[in-house]
Symmetry: C2
Subunit: 310 residues, 2 copies
């Protein structure tokens, strides 16, 4: 007998999701979920959509694609320094099998990060996609933002850059076992690290989803500073430039998206950052971003992904 | 010059959204939005996806489709009795024009109900769709749920039933100016009424999105009661049965979805409900739902919409 929508939701999602957050009053199965906040805390919310053929190739496993989508959404909470608590997941699936695969990926990722599945929606339509809304909490007034960089702040980077774009390129080239594939397929949201930075006093941070240059530019514009980055200081520059040559390495490192590292700024006197991240630049008077290599400005062909660009 | 994704988000969404909620600390434009809750209140969250060709016909105006999607999501907050505060909106659009139309519909609906656009996402892909996540607040412990009906409770209905399904049918038949079209195109979430019911002490409610029979069954199963509905008591039964004949009217009224009325139960002594809603049935020992017409059980051909049903 074919399964109904409601039994599929139960089978693919609800029965596989393992966590219920202690501040949840009503979850999954009513018209809405109900939660409270611990005292002196704020709510942090972000939403992200991932579509087959746009965010992942048509022949990429759906389970992995769904796992990535959850992790990419959680990365936005990491960028704010929040503790991840809840997720609401909507899945558009072209078949029952596609729904099952995406359900597995979604619940795998939520369980790995101990995040509750608080609600969701499923739709049968001819284009596989997921929308993930995530929420977390943090102590009042401590959220890391894009507009809090100041002139004289040091710029730091936590993670790797460009490797996911190389992995995607390998996949598209048919090198399905390529050395960079895992950097594309396994998104690791820096949730613990984001919280640690916030506790150390960092107040300006972004997660690098669209490429370092484009995301650094958000901080530069929103904070009204010029972020100057030194290409050679990035943690994976040495290996990347040896493998690809300086010119291509620069391009990939600065414009390749979806590595989900954290780019942040902090006053020079901030303690404890050396253990977590790499110093890659400085905030100057001006607006936006520039990158330097051996003392010269880097010219990029393309600065990051832009939906709706022609 | 073609507009970039970021300038389109600004143009189609951010610049048109008029409300900022007083409990919002950081909104739209950072990695996530940040909010606090008034003391003694809980957070209520729901998410809904609407896809072209599934939730609205391909030739239905996108602006109206987007407006409907927001209102359908808000209806879930109405069913809980919450005050609607915030929305996060993800739009998948096949063209810049489609994005603009959906942006207009989304912001029209949010502005009409004074709900803040707190964040979102846009994707360029070949199937128009929207995901709407909404959040509201209510006083601790007062949320209306599906599992709170008790034997002996009266069953009430607020709204109309079956008219949206008739409107959709008219649209599909080419009667674009038909008398029922507005019932499909203009979704009215019963937010004020939901709050009023909650304040009167109602604790069991659902919004009718999938058809009265299917949604009543959710209350019946979750509350472990048998909900007995009297077809002739429904507010628009007289006019509907005169127009369609009893058999078709019953079918449409009980299984036609998307009218977004509120179906709720309350102890017989509850005051003030007569002014807001119509008494349509009673909660008996048993589980699920049955409908009666002139003392006989009604047999339905189909009880509501089921994604993934074969």
């Amino acid at each position: 007998m074919p399964a109904s929508e409601f039994s599929l939701i139960e089978q693919c999602f609800v029965s596989k999701a393992r966590y219920q957050h202690k501040h949840t009053m009503i979850t999954n199965g009513d018209d809405a979920s109900v939660h409270n906040l611990p005292s002196n805390h704020e709510l942090v919310v972000s939403t992200d959509t991932a579509v087959q053929g746009v965010h992942w190739p048509h022949d990429f496993p759906l389970e992995k694609a769904a796992d990535r989508a959850v992790c990419a959404a959680l990365s936005d909470l990491a960028a704010m320094g929040a503790e991840a608590c809840w997720a609401w997941v909507s899945v558009v699936a072209e078949s029952t099998e596609a729904l099952q695969s995406m359900g597995q990926g979604v619940t795998d990722a939520l369980n790995r990060y101990e995040v509750e599945l608080s609600g969701g929606d499923t739709v049968h339509a001819p284009l596989n996609s997921l929308n993930i809304t995530v929420a977390g909490i943090l102590e009042k007034g401590t959220a890391m933002q894009r507009n809090k960089a100041n002139i004289g702040d040091k710029v730091w980077f936590l993670g790797q850059a460009g490797l996911s774009a190389l992995g995607l390129q390998q996949w598209l080239n048919g090198q399905k076992g390529g050395e960079f594939i895992s950097h594309f397929s396994d998104v690791i949201p820096k949730i613990q690290q984001g919280r640690a930075l916030r506790v150390l006093g960092v107040r300006c941070c972004i997660d690098v989803s669209d490429g370092i240059f484009q995301d650094a530019n958000h901080i530069g514009k929103d904070s009204n500073i010029l972020m100057e980055l030194d290409v050679e200081k990035f943690p994976n520059w040495q290996s990347l430039s040896q493998e690809l040559g300086a010119k291509k390495a620069m391009q990939v490192m600065l414009s390749g998206g979806e590595d989900y590292g954290l780019l942040f700024t902090a006053p020079a006197h901030t303690k404890g950052l050396n253990e977590l991240a790499t110093w890659v630049g400085v905030c100057l008077q001006g607006s936006g971003v520039k990158a330097q290599y051996k003392g010269e400005d880097v010219q990029l062909v393309k600065s990051g992904y832009d939906h709706f660009a022609v």
